[in-house]
């Protein structure tokens, strides 16, 4: 199917939604605008991390044993990537008005989000025991602020999805496809921010060290 046909299709499908003069649901425009601004938010946090990387006067340093852990973070990144797939399936299900699948996928998306947060709690605890606190050094303050903000995004996303999961048992989901799609956009965004963090903060730190 051509992209034009798909676009037209979508236009049709949301005819009952409130549209802006562009023909796009206002909620979707709002979400994309928010995500654009969130790019700047995370951009600042990530560049602050990069700028202060290697400038800590005392340890623990990123590559010290017990600090950045590539195998564990690879696993958590995988979980978040798969949650994006589940989210895409959730949106596809609600577009078909397949409520059973919708509930299954949105529930699993939330569970995967929680697993990711579990990995992050484990990581933060490990760092704490290795002597890295937010006030320890520049690495600690920039790292925890950045990944903590991301974790908070994931947490809010989980609450949002669970709220829709619960709502689906009591409310009418017939005209809620756009709302779910908007929640999905937020969820995928949190995933792409992690794609960047995983590469720039975790993997790039080990370039030239020979082994992760």
């Amino acid at each position: 199917m051509s992209s034009a046909a798909l676009a037209a299709d979508h236009h049709d499908e949301h005819h009952h939604e409130e549209h802006s003069y562009t023909g796009v649901p206002s909620k979707k425009i709002l979400m994309w605008a928010f995500l654009a601004s969130d790019c700047m938010f995370f951009g600042t946090l990530i560049s602050t991390y990069i700028i202060y990387n290697g400038k800590s006067l005392v340890g623990p340093y990123p590559t010290d044993p017990g600090i950045l852990n590539i195998p564990i973070t690879t696993a958590s990144s995988f979980v978040l990537l798969m949650s994006s797939l589940l989210m895409a399936l959730t949106v596809a299900a609600i577009n078909r008005q397949d409520i059973f699948k919708f509930r299954l996928w949105i529930f699993l998306t939330s569970v995967f989000g929680l697993i990711f947060l579990g990995f992050q709690s484990f990581e933060f605890t490990e760092f704490y025991h290795a002597g890295l606190r937010i006030q320890t050094n520049l690495f600690g303050s920039t790292f925890f602020t950045m990944t903590g903000t991301h974790g908070l995004h994931v947490f809010l996303g989980v609450l949002w999805l669970i709220a829709w999961f619960i709502y689906s048992f009591f409310g009418n989901m017939k005209d809620k496809a756009t709302d779910i799609e908007v929640a999905g956009l937020y969820w995928h965004f949190v995933d792409i921010v992690w794609i960047v963090i995983f590469t720039v903060i975790y993997l790039a730190e080990f370039v030239g060290t020979g082994a992760a």
Partner: protein, 213 residues
């Protein structure tokens, strides 16, 4: 409606293929770290693959490829501003036309820069009068016995106070000499203002020298 159903059914296999692709790309990213290739090539590969993943999620999972182009404009407008600001910040933060300070890239380089020169430290030790009270084997003139002898200090310093590293112990002993007094010696004899009598470089050199004892 049947058309819609068909369309969305068609998307599911695409999503699954994409998820497999994203997993494989992530695995390749990690594998790159173990390859015997130059660092520049590693960065190129890592950032390139991350951009690929980013693009696919935005285009397919977030549907931007099929959606109204105004959404692409809104998102990438903000994204471009964010990326440009990031690159400008990272590039310019260390731009120092007059080179009044040092630029270091890693914590290891910084530690090297901050480390004193132990070879100058013994001269500082003598010139500041430390030798009048402290003896060091092999250092001419350092024969004082008012305070503890410092031969082997580098070994002992880390074990004096549990949880305190050698350097921290040596610094404390100079800056706050009465905080911890070695058994058999009286408190209050060592001047507490010695650090003020030397320049920052002299102090670093002295600490570096004492660590080697």
């Amino acid at each position: 409606m049947s058309d819609h159903t068909q369309e969305h059914h068609d998307h599911v296999p695409t999503y699954i293929k994409l998820a497999v692709l994203l997993s494989v790309v992530t695995a390749i990213e990690v594998a790159i770290l173990y390859l015997p290739i130059p660092s520049a090539l590693m960065y190129f590969g890592l950032y390139g693959l991350a951009a690929l993943k980013f693009g696919y999620v935005v285009a397919m999972f977030m549907h931007l490829k099929y959606d109204n182009k105004i959404l692409t404009g809104i998102f990438f407008g903000g994204f471009t501003i964010a990326l440009a600001t990031m690159m400008a910040m990272v590039a310019l933060i260390n731009y120092q036309p007059t080179k009044t300070s040092h630029y270091v890239k890693t914590s290891v380089e910084l530690a090297k820069l901050n480390a004193g020169n132990p070879e100058n430290g013994s001269a500082v030790f003598m010139s500041k009068g430390c030798a009048a009270c402290h003896a060091i084997e092999g250092l001419d003139g350092a024969v004082g016995a008012v305070g503890p002898a410092l031969t082997g200090l580098g070994q002992r310093a880390g074990e004096r106070i549990p949880g305190k590293e050698a350097v921290a112990y040596i610094r404390e002993s100079i800056e706050k000499p009465n905080e911890f007094v070695v058994d058999g010696f009286a408190a209050g004899l060592m001047p507490a203002n010695l650090k003020a009598s030397m320049s920052a470089d002299e102090y670093k050199d002295l600490i570096a020298y004492l660590e080697t004892l």
